[in-house]
């Protein structure tokens, strides 16, 4: 990574044009490994290799020193130890304190002058102490040709580590003490040439290997090139702490008020150009991922990150594709605004890496890109790719309600509230009694509603989708349920199928009482957490045996959630979702009914958004046609509780008034319409829309 970047060239680089730089920024023909080949378990060498960052980091990290994934972590270790700016490193976070976040970001991103002299000199002194005797030595650069043609070129790192090992072995005098062993301090691959840096005294030993055979090919070794690189100088002026520079860049480019990270015109950022960030292709290709890793290290939780950075600009970077900056989507997946204006993005392929990323992206700017002319319909694709997108190039292209539908996959028919077609409030009464009792007294419940023929089974869908807003990545544990699960997708063994089906009160009661204790949300206080539907079913067994063709009953389908309760503490623990289907028939149980069948499906918490009616859409369509609510005359005492009036009747009257206001139908017709729709307002409104053209004049309130 950046810390392993090759020795920068002597002298400051000429400033490149933004276009040129960005072009290079995006190309990465070099191997994915860091240019510097570091080797395992050589902390001392690491410490002495002249690379400041690696020096401290290597001694702290075990195993391979060149893993991409660990680079940022090491960077932070380094910074904590040596960087006066003080990157906050990984430590457990307790709760979210926005002001603390803000402070920590500011602290992490440093002041306006993050790479001060003081910072550097303090770094140097730390390093100097640790480096020991050869601080005054220089390094020579030597080029080795032939690796690409060798048999080792097919190895994972292109054979670099093999070649380095070979060179060190051959250059080292076998009789010399270990401390005199030849060590290659740095290496990087440029095309088919390996460039290594070695101590001056080792240089002749390496040159001696010229024309040796390595993996079937004759090596050509030349050097040293240029003047020896004085180490002190090197550290002081030419290998500034890259992390500190990048942090400075981030700091300058972060706007606290607007929570904008402005990464536009990176190619002409003088500080980045100065440190040779874009001087080689390998450095360029590492630049953005490194920047993202630093960002990642600043925040301990995704939530902090989401709160701190809402907008990102990558404008004016001449990007021909987003491939060099794709890591943005991993680091800032939750940004709302993204400015990609004035780049060279010319088609959908050039954006493909971000397809279906940025799930919360609200506003995307793509002006000043060839895609506008070359893919005139790109807007449609952006709508599909980014489900929350409402605004493209500052123009609103869809409403927030529509984005919700898009995120969910658009259905031709709206999601409606529950279709609850009860008979004599049987299902309603049952559900209101069942779930509180299931939480508090399952024995009575089993005895009261289940009989000798009732059946109950439980199945677990362990891989069910989870609520989109779930941030907890931990997979829920199903141990307590799995042995009882009658998921017929998973179990094929007949005895298991039979033993997991509980028939009769006793068996069901036993099953109930061995399942973990639960707490369901209140049906009254939190109705949105429930979706309860029911309708009648014919052909149930007649317990009296009189009707051959069976009797009618109700099927009740309940979707909801519950918390498991730790009985010893009374604390709610895991939250889970469930789907439970009951078939209720006439019987000798509570209220003259019995549970014929009871199937319970448990799954990971899936939230309750899915069944919330699409009020936006439907309300919109009604309001569009009737901009103002209809003024209707409501008779006195209608839709209010009164003597001799059941609660149900009041409720029906209220619904009739609602529908009447929305549609302009008379109360009488509204009542009829609701009756036909099972007293479901949403259904009734849909039915009205369909029937509207055929309704007689008298159906409407005269205007």
């Amino acid at each position: 990574m950046l810390q392993q970047a090759p020795t920068p060239p002597t002298g400051p680089r000429a400033t490149r044009t933004s276009a040129r730089t960005s072009e290079r920024l995006t190309s990465s023909r070099l191997p994915s490994r860091g240019g510097i080949q570091k080797r395992n378990s050589t902390p001392v060498r690491v410490d002495r290799d002249g690379d400041l960052v690696m020096g401290a980091a290597g001694s702290g990290s075990r195993g391979s020193g060149s893993g991409r994934g660990s680079a940022a972590g090491r960077g932070s270790t380094q910074s904590r130890r040596h960087d006066p700016l003080g990157v906050r490193s990984h430590h457990p976070s307790t709760g979210i304190d926005p002001s603390a976040i803000q402070k920590s970001i500011l602290r992490s991103m440093g002041s306006d002058e993050p790479v001060s002299r003081g910072a550097r000199s303090s770094l140097r002194s730390v390093r100097g102490r640790g480096r020991g005797q050869d601080t005054r030595e220089g390094l020579n650069r030597i080029t080795i040709k032939g690796l690409k043609q060798s048999k080792a070129a097919g190895n994972p790192d292109g054979g670099v580590s093999d070649l380095i090992g070979f060179l060190e072995r051959k250059a080292t005098n076998p009789d010399a003490p270990a401390r005199e062993a030849v060590k290659i301090k740095k290496s990087r691959l440029e095309g088919d040439i390996l460039i290594i840096s070695v101590r001056q005294e080792d240089t002749p030993k390496i040159l001696r290997i010229n024309h040796y055979m390595f993996a079937g090919v004759e090596l050509s070794i030349q050097g040293p090139h240029g003047k020896p690189i004085p180490l002190e100088n090197n550290a002081d002026s030419e290998t500034p702490n890259t992390i500190a520079v990048l942090k400075g860049v981030l700091s300058r480019r972060y706007n606290v008020e607007s929570k904008l990270l402005d990464l536009s015109q990176l190619g002409s950022d003088p500080e980045l150009v100065n440190i040779g960030m874009f001087s080689t292709t390998s450095r360029e290709s590492k630049f953005f991922p490194a920047l993202m890793k630093i960002c990642n290290n600043i925040f301990t939780t995704a939530k902090e990150k989401e709160e701190a950075i809402i907008s990102v600009s990558l404008a004016n970077n001449a990007l021909p594709s987003i491939s060099s900056v794709t890591t943005l989507a991993q680091t800032f997946p939750a940004i709302r605004n993204l400015d990609l204006s004035n780049n060279q993005l010319k088609n959908l392929t050039s954006l493909d890496g971000w397809r279906w990323k940025f799930r919360k992206l609200d506003h995307l700017i793509l002006t000043g890109n060839p895609i506008e002319a070359e893919v005139p319909n790109y807007k449609d694709d952006m709508l599909k790719w980014f489900p929350s997108l409402t605004t493209l190039n500052t123009i609103q292209i869809r409403s927030p309600e529509e984005t919700k539908a898009a995120a969910n996959g658009r259905l031709p028919i709206p999601i409606l509230g529950p279709s609850f077609r009860d008979e004599a409030s049987i299902s309603e009464t049952f559900v209101k009694q069942f779930f509180p009792a299931y939480d508090s007294d399952r024995v009575s419940l089993a005895n009261g509603y289940y009989d000798a023929q009732s059946t109950f089974s439980l199945s677990i869908n362990t891989s069910a989708p989870r609520a989109p807003e779930t941030t907890d990545q931990k997979m829920p544990c199903w141990d307590t349920y799995i042995k009882r699960s009658r998921n017929l997708m998973k179990i094929a063994h007949l005895p298991a199928k039979m033993s997991r089906l509980h028939t009769g009160t006793d068996s069901i009661r036993d099953a109930f009482t061995t399942l973990p204790a639960t707490q369901h949300p209140s049906l009254i206080a939190e109705p949105q957490k429930w979706c309860i539907e029911c309708h009648t079913v014919p052909g149930l067994p007649d317990p009296t045996g009189q009707s051959i063709s069976g009797v009618g009953g109700l099927i009740v389908i309940v979707h909801g959630e519950f918390s498991e309760v730790d009985v010893s503490t009374g604390q709610a623990t895991t939250i889970r979702s469930f789907d439970r289907t009951f078939v209720l028939g006439a019987g000798a149980g509570i209220g003259g009914i019995r549970v014929v069948c009871d199937t319970l499906v448990l799954r990971s918490y899936g939230g309750h958004e899915a069944w919330q009616p699409e009020v936006g859409d439907m309300g919109g369509s009604i309001q569009a046609q009737t901009p103002a609510q209809h003024t209707i005359k409501v008779p006195a005492r209608f839709a209010v509780p009164g003597p001799g009036k059941s609660e149900e009747q009041v409720q029906k009257e209220v619904l009739a008034v609602e529908l009447s206001k929305a549609t302009g139908m008379t109360l009488q017709y509204s009542g009829m319409c609701l009756e036909q729709s099972g007293w479901n307002l949403a259904n009734a409104a849909s039915a009205f829309e369909l029937a509207k053209p055929t309704l007689p004049e008298e159906a409407f309130v005269s205007r």
Binding site: R355, K384, W385, A407, N408, G409, R410, L411, P412, I413, P414, I415, L416, G417, S419, T455, S459, N461, A464, P465, R466, A467, R486, N487, L488, M489, K497, L501, C531, E533, H535, T536, V537, P538, G539, L540, P541, I548, S549, G550, G552, I555, I557, H559, S577, D579, T581, V583, C597, T599, V601, R603, G606, G607, A610, W611, P613, N680, N683, S686
Partner: protein, 154 residues
């Protein structure tokens, strides 16, 4: 048991790839003793009046769908079912019963890669197809949907 399995294995693929056969999964339109129509089809709270409407909804309006059944369970609802209008005792074919099937899984609507994964829950009541059970015809499915309730739950 095999009725549920067969249903799962044929119905869900048909929703994606063989929508013209959808209505054949349902019992013929009839009415309950109290006059309510059968089969009952409820889709996200929408009452679908008949199998033909269900089929045309999928054929003409529904985007591409891919269903994945992750869990199903079934119970015998009525072990001694006699089809409406059937005379005398039930056939002894072992199919004189009705079955409750509950399904949990996910569905993706729309374009292949971009679609969100939506959890669904579906409860179905299957009844034997009298035409097949009675041995009077070879064609047709052995089990037909009498009632169906589909809900997106995630």
């Amino acid at each position: 048991m095999s009725a549920a399995k067969t249903f799962i294995e044929t119905y869900y693929p048909a929703l994606s790839t063989s929508r013209s056969s959808l209505s054949s999964f349902y019992m013929p339109a009839s009415t309950m003793p109290d006059g309510k129509p059968l089969p009952v089809i409820v889709y996200n709270g929408n009452i679908i009046p008949d199998p033909t409407s269900m089929q045309s909804l999928f054929q003409e309006q529904m985007p591409e769908t891919r269903y994945e059944v992750q869990d199903y369970d079934s119970q015998v609802l009525n072990p001694h079912y006699v089809a409406e209008g059937a005379q005398g005792s039930a056939p002894s074919s072992g199919k004189n019963m009705t079955i409750l099937v509950t399904v949990s899984g996910y569905v993706k609507y729309g374009e292949a890669r971009s679609a969100a994964t939506r959890g669904f829950s579906e409860s179905i009541v299957l009844i034997p197809n009298p035409d097949v059970v009675g041995g009077r015809g070879k064609a047709g499915k052995e089990w037909l949907v009498q009632s169906q309730n589909f809900r997106l739950v995630v």
